[in-house]
Amino acid sequence: MNKTENNKAWFLVLPVFVLVAFSAVIPLMTVVNYSVQDIFDQNNAYFVGAEWFREVLRDPRLHDSLLRQFIYSFAVLAIEIPLGIGVALMMPTKGRMASLCLILLAIPLLIPWNVVGTIWQIFGRGDIGLFGAALNGLGIDYNYASNPADAWATVLLIDVWHWTSLVALLCYSGLRAIPEAFYQAAEIDRASKWAVFRYIQLPRLKSVLVIGVLLRFMDSFMIYTEPFVLTGGGPGNSTTFLSQTLTKMAVGQFDLGPAAAFSLVYFLIVLLVSWLFFTTITHMDKAK
């Protein structure tokens, strides 16, 4: 290999390096800094080692919200991924209807989180909300403010309403990339609709689904605004997820040390789960 040594080239990397330093590395290091010290004021900081981590990992509030968080993210994926695939499969492939569907699907994605929360907060109310009133009118006792199950269902529904489109759009683009020849061959080979899905469409959706699952996992695992706007994490603690617990700790009680330690643990969990998922999938690919 003929490689030209030119150390000036490093200067070209500098802008990116600076950008990443300010946007990611320095904030993260600040958090690390907080997580290992007990800071009273500018001049009184004591190194406490892993003390905050130990405290945080033993905190039952966190155990509860972590469990809740995993169940929630799992439910989100279990609903949104199949639903998104289904919607993508049913969408028209060309013509005006296709464009119309794309626009309709894109609309929820454009609405900010807090607005979505507010919309549903009103929509779901038993007295003035269309959804809540309709359910109550049908004789279903629905009240997200007092019934934990209803609150849960509503927070789930919000996410499904908000983000299934993303999965559907990803899948739609994946489906459009399958050459017509595959469908023709399958037709000649007498494949059933299911066989076409299982052996032609699904394998070719894999890469977009990996992206979809990762995005939806990370995003739902960090959910904050919707339950906060809807019920403030209630009733009780039933819809208090990890990020809200963290916020309460950091902003509400100003326990910066434990909150920093907790942030790092949180960050590592997201990283670990994503990594596990990604390596499993890519590993499956390599197997003959």
Binding site: A181, F182, Q184, A185, E187, I188, D189, R190, A191, S192, A195, Y199, I200, P203, K288
Partner: protein, 365 residues
């Protein structure tokens, strides 16, 4: 098993075709008999793939009917027509192994697994795929993919017909030859109608009993390789079949025959009588290089030509000669010496073909 009849068939990819140029298939009537080994030969873009897709049911013809054993099947999907088709660009299901690929058409029809195994192994043996049988299809080389694609057509021996759309394009010549022989054997063994699309005349004539030559959306001639060679009924067939193709010369009517550049070509009385009655001015004569007689010395009735170039092909030579302003190709057998100076040639009358508006005028005698 079926006889496939294309009745007044035409197809256009445009919703409202106006001129004949809008048609990929121009109106045709054609019958593929049960059990035949056919080749569909024609240049790229002449409508071969379109025709196959219409037969298999992937495409609905815009006009006319497709009949299987006299039953109209226009609206019937490929599944019910029970036809196998091998595509020009190989399709493999890349998440499956080679074995599962080959088994796919059988499993879809709920064939018992023991029989699937037997058929798949048989076909893998024929196509020399047994070594990669349990590999994922995605990792195959281009020619292996083409073989898998072909194998999926061959595992089904209960089909009405197998359609091959240029199935061997990326396979190396030696294996290609072997596979063609295997196809022929399979054909004889199972008596399945096979239609083999190609743009290579050699491939067509080694595979098929009868060749359909397609040009501009129509089958211009359907016959044995010999018929296509000896009496091409369209100038395109003359030009396309044979290597080199037929000598085709534009001519004018003249006393007792036709002429070009002051060169007289006498014709039979029958053709002369025919010519006298028709208005067309698009006249051509055609003669195969193989039938041009090359003399060693000047003789009566021979035309004196100039030798422009020659090609030595081992078994024979191809001479390029100038007669008038026309260039004429002639074949000279290996044992003959290359003539020096002027070359004297003559056109045996039985091999001089007359074309009016590009179509052959057949002589009864």
């Amino acid at each position: 098993m079926a006889e496939i009849h294309l009745k007044s068939l035409a197809h256009s990819y445009f919703p409202n075709p106006a001129t004949s140029a809008d048609y990929a298939i121009r109106e045709m009537d054609h019958v593929w008999h049960q059990g035949g080994a056919y080749a569909l030969l024609g240049p790229s873009g002449c409508g071969k793939s379109t025709l196959l897709n219409i037969i298999s049911g992937l495409l609905q013809p815009s006009e006319g009917e497709v009949l299987f054993d006299k039953v109209r099947v226009n609206e019937m999907p490929p599944k019910e027509r029970n036809i196998a088709q091998v595509f020009q660009f190989p399709v493999v299901y890349d998440s499956m192994t080679v074995y599962d690929n080959l088994a796919f058409p059988l499993r879809n029809a709920k064939v018992p697994e023991a029989r699937v195994r037997a058929k798949v192994n048989e076909v893998a043996e024929i196509l020399e795929l047994h070594e990669v049988l349990h590999n994922k299809a995605r990792n195959l080389s281009a020619d292996e993919k083409q073989k898998v694609s072909m194998g999926r057509g061959l595992v089904r021996d209960d089909v009405s017909a197998i359609l091959f759309d240029e199935p061997l394009t990326v396979i190396d010549p030696h294996l290609k030859w072997k596979l063609r022989r295997k196809l022929k054997q399979i054909h004889e063994q199972f008596n399945i109608t096979m239609i083999y699309v190609t743009h290579d005349q050699l491939e067509a004539s080694t595979f098929a009993d009868k060749i359909a030559v397609m040009y501009g959306g129509q089958i211009v001639q359907f016959g044995t390789p010999r018929e296509l060679f000896e009496s091409p009924n369209h100038t395109f067939v003359g030009f396309f079949i044979g290597s080199p193709g037929m000598n085709l010369i534009e001519v004018r009517r003249s006393e007792g025959g036709v002429s070009f550049d002051d060169i007289q070509i006498p014709l039979s009385d029958e053709l002369n009588a025919y010519l006298a009655d028709i208005p067309s001015y698009n006249l051509k004569i055609g003669i195969r290089p193989e039938f041009v007689h090359v003399w060693d010395k000047p003789v009566d009735d021979a035309y004196a030509t100039e030798l422009i170039s020659h090609e030595d092909l081992g078994t024979h030579k191809i001479l390029t000669l100038r007669l008038g302003n026309q260039s004429i190709k002639a074949r000279l057998d290996e044992d003959r010496e290359l003539p020096e100076g002027k070359v004297y040639i003559s056109f045996p009358q039985q091999w001089v073909k007359l074309y009016v508006d590009e179509f052959l005028i057949e002589e009864r005698s």
